[in-house]
């Protein structure tokens, strides 16, 4: 089960964040208290859908949202349960275990459920919790930029970059004798060959999905000649050449692809987009693949997640029943697509004047060149009215930018190189705990500082930010925490 954010824990998180900000003249206000996502009706387990979804327009759409929300919180089993197919390798057993902060669909919470995965019998007893997974640290996936040489060093002639799944089913009763070794995390750390990614929140993701390429290109063109050293590009989908936009490097084209890949990679569940159980990158490269007794652990064949040809709940012909026909990955995609974006606070933290001034300063120093406050507008939507022809205030241009040696993770995805990252959408930032792609900091000051290093497009903007007075920088932080 995912651990939910409790008020006491929230306070602790705020104190922790404040304590790390002492090196700067301005202080990160920490995780914004108050309404979750700025939406009074939201709860830690129930995020809000788009307005037209709440209004059930078109008829039945709210049932699909609720169905997807439920499946997003399902705990997956190896076999024998209602939700099967977990493993044989995985990072966790529940979407919402990792996408939990500040509510279902978000990013990692204050208590990392991966830390107790072995103790709770989710991961095999033969596994060891990697040292970088801690009780209150970021929820993470791990990657090795390169494969190992025999001497334990990284083979820079053999780029890897795939997800090295944390856990296995080894030793669990339902594992059917499947025995797998975990990737060599300690050796990778010793070789400097280990990087991390944290979960990206998916609030408002349907709006990002529904922006036409021409709109994004127009935003890119308008930013040309900015005099700030910034000139981003796009990651393109390898199939049709259109602009991809999800994931830390904008490597995924659509929410369905995002869901299908995560189900396969993070949870080890094959599906209609990814039909096989996934070996580690090296197991695949070496030609061994997964051992035979680690395959088909459900005993039902592949893929483990499929369309339900007969509805499994509700009265036939109702929209409640119709929603059950979707495969899990389709239901996940609908849930993410129909989620409302976070609502900015106009007063917290620091008061309305500080937040307003912070936004103006954010624009003035050039942050908004990449973190585009608003994109006008989405395509007309054939799904629900709230997705169509609306402005998107995600604070992102959805471009990939060179972020320099300080942030480079040496993982290439699609057209993105080892130092290129998608401009992270900032909506909802006010209630995130961990920042940057690897969750290396809980302090906004440190996150901003990390934008500057050799090779980064953000160096000039960072210099402009540093040129502000401490009071002005505080306004920027207050603004960011209001999002």
């Amino acid at each position: 089960m995912a651990t939910r954010l409790q008020p006491a824990v929230l306070s602790a998180a705020i104190l922790m964040v404040s304590a790390t900000g002492v090196a700067f003249a301005q202080t990160d206000p920490g995780v914004r208290p108050g309404a979750i996502n700025g939406q009074p009706a939201a709860t830690p387990l129930v995020p809000l859908p788009l307005a037209s979804v709440s209004a059930n327009n078109p008829t039945g759409v709210v049932d699909f949202f609720n169905n997807g929300l439920g499946r997003f919180q399902d705990s997956e089993a190896i076999s024998g349960g209602a939700n099967n197919g977990l493993g044989p390798r995985f990072n966790f057993n529940q979407c919402s275990g990792c996408h939990s902060q500040p509510t279902v669909g978000g990013t990692g919470g204050p208590n990392n459920p991966q830390f107790t995965a072995i103790a709770n019998g989710i991961a095999g007893p033969n596994d060891t919790t990697p040292a970088f997974i801690t009780a209150h640290g970021p929820t993470r996936e791990a990657r090795f930029p390169f494969f190992f040489n025999n001497d334990g060093s990284a083979n820079t002639n053999a780029p890897n970059g795939g997800v090295e799944t944390l856990f296995t089913v080894s030793g669990l009763t339902l594992a059917n004798g499947c025995t797998l070794a975990q990737p060599s995390f300690a050796a990778a750390a010793a070789a400097g060959n280990l990087i991390f990614r944290i979960p990206t929140p998916v609030f408002g993701a349907g709006l990002l999905e529904n922006i036409d390429d021409s709109t994004l290109i127009a935003v890119q063109t308008a930013a040309a000649g900015n005099g700030l050293g910034i000139s981003g590009t796009f990651n393109h989908n390898g199939n049709d050449g259109t602009i991809a936009r999800f994931g830390w490097k904008a490597q995924n084209k659509s929410l369905l692809l995002f869901a299908g890949e995560a189900y396969n990679v993070e949870m080890g569940i094959s599906n209609e987009l990814f039909q096989q159980d996934r070996p580690l990158p090296g197991e695949d490269q070496l030609g061994s693949g997964l051992p035979a007794n680690c395959l088909n652990l459900t005993g039902t064949g592949y893929p483990e997640d499929t369309t339900n040809f007969v509805n499994t709940s509700g009265t036939a012909g109702t929209t409640v029943a119709n929603a059950t026909i979707l495969s899990d990955i389709e239901a996940f995609a609908q849930f993410m697509r129909l989620l409302a974006p976070p609502v900015q606070s106009t007063t917290t933290p620091g008061g309305a004047a500080s937040i307003s001034n912070g936004l103006a300063l954010f624009t003035a120093v050039g942050c908004s060149t990449c973190h585009t406050p608003t994109i006008q507008s989405t395509q007309p939507s054939n799904i629900t009215p709230s997705l169509g022809s609306v402005a998107v205030s995600a604070f992102s241009d959805l471009e990939i930018h060179h972020m320099g040696t300080g942030l480079a993770d040496n993982v290439s995805q699609g057209g993105a190189g080892g130092d290129q990252f998608r401009t992270a959408p900032l909506w909802g930032l006010g209630q995130r705990i961990f920042f940057l792609h690897d969750g290396r900091t809980t302090d906004l000051n440190a996150a901003i500082d990390a934008h500057a290093s050799s090779g980064s497009e953000a160096n000039q903007v960072e210099a402009n930010f540093d040129a502000l007075s401490a009071s002005q920088r505080q306004d920027v932080l207050n603004f960011l925490r209001s999002l």
Partner: protein, 346 residues
């Protein structure tokens, strides 16, 4: 395959397994061989360097390492020297280049140098200088001159900036520039921009500070800058020691022989390329602003087979520099099964 309507409690049965951790750990597992995702070596002979970009995406490259390229400028002592642009700029005392810039972009934008005061700087106000260039052959703004590009910047300036000096022609260091000043009242930050044109690039100096006196003194210091003869708002078309630069020169009108590159991977990134054509009409230098290695290899092999009619100036053949966009815009020519040559009339 499930509907989400029925959920089981968390695996009570599996908790039994958790109690057996101490018994089962390590049983039945053999240490995998070193290699791939596995290693038993916790003290490797070498560790990956930090703060290095080892895995690059589309990146800049050139067919030789001798011919200067725009991104090849360096700070030596207190002088920024850029052989490609023929530019020498003496930095203010205690100002340094702290970081290298990003690689050239696939829209032709270069961060040539970012200069700012060192930690030893004693002055009361801080500031920064960005020296940047934009290739006028590839600019997404469709500007064809430095003046047009600065006017584009002005038109797209966000509403909360105030223009304090509209783009105005000025002279510094014996050359014509356009000067453009603006301020963010809320931030108290001022931008003074000087731009000129060299080798069909906009070359701009962007000074930023809260202190307008500091900015003005920095602007005046640019009088000490050395620039090539061609630098200027109505010039900047190469010539002299540099090749003349001509937009869209690689057209049927000037080509005698053209071989289409064979690009084996289907990618969708723009690949802007600058070439220098020698006086015999051969491609003597190729500069990829942004390309994956397989793209630069395939395009280089093709371009080296291209032949142009010699370009004559005052009756004498001279070298020509031009730009070609491969990849996304315009659409790549479908690769033939083998390289083919086509002869253009004339």
């Amino acid at each position: 395959m499930h509907s989400g309507s029925a959920r089981l409690p968390v695996f009570v049965g599996l908790l039994m397994g958790a109690s057996l951790i101490g018994v089962c750990r390590g049983q039945g597992q053999e240490a995998p061989q070193n290699g791939g995702d596995f290693s038993q070596q916790l003290q490797p002979t070498k560790k990956l360097p930090t703060d290095v970009i080892l895995v690059k995406g589309a990146w800049a490259s050139a067919s030789d390492s001798v011919t200067p390229v725009p991104e090849g400028g360096k700070v030596t002592g207190n002088v920024y020297d850029n052989p490609y642009f023929g530019l020498d700029y003496t930095l203010s005392p205690d100002w340094i280049r702290k970081y290298d810039g990003p690689p050239p972009s696939d829209s032709g934008y270069y961060v040539l140098a970012q200069i700012q005061p060192a930690s030893t700087f004693k002055g009361p106000q801080r500031g920064s200088l960005l020296i940047a260039a934009e290739d006028l052959f590839f600019s997404p703004t469709r500007a064809t001159s430095a003046l047009e590009l600065i006017n584009f910047t002005r038109r797209n300036l966000q509403a909360d900036y105030t223009v304090t000096r509209a783009p105005t022609q000025v002279r510094f260091a014996g050359h014509s520039f356009v000067r453009f000043d603006y301020v963010s009242p809320v931030a108290g930050l001022h931008w003074h921009v000087l731009a000129t044109q060299i080798r069909c690039h906009l070359v701009q100096f962007v000074f930023t500070s809260r202190d307008t006196k500091l900015l003005e003194s920095l602007i005046q210091d640019t009088n000490k800058m050395k620039l090539p003869d061609e630098a200027g708002l109505t010039a900047g078309m190469g010539g002299g020691a540099a090749p003349v630069c001509i937009r869209n020169y690689a057209s049927d009108e000037h080509l005698v022989r053209k071989v289409d590159p064979i690009l084996t991977d289907r990618r969708f990134n723009p690949v802007p390329v600058r070439i220098i054509i020698d006086t015999d009409g051969r491609v003597k230098h190729i500069h990829f602003l942004s390309a994956f290695p397989d793209q630069s290899k395939g395009i280089t092999e093709a371009l080296l087979q291209w032949r142009f009619k010699p370009y004559l100036r005052d009756g004498q053949p001279v070298e020509v520099e031009t730009g070609i966009m491969f990849g996304r815009v315009p659409r790549p020519t479908p690769p033939p099964a083998t390289a083919t040559a086509s002869t253009v009339k004339g």
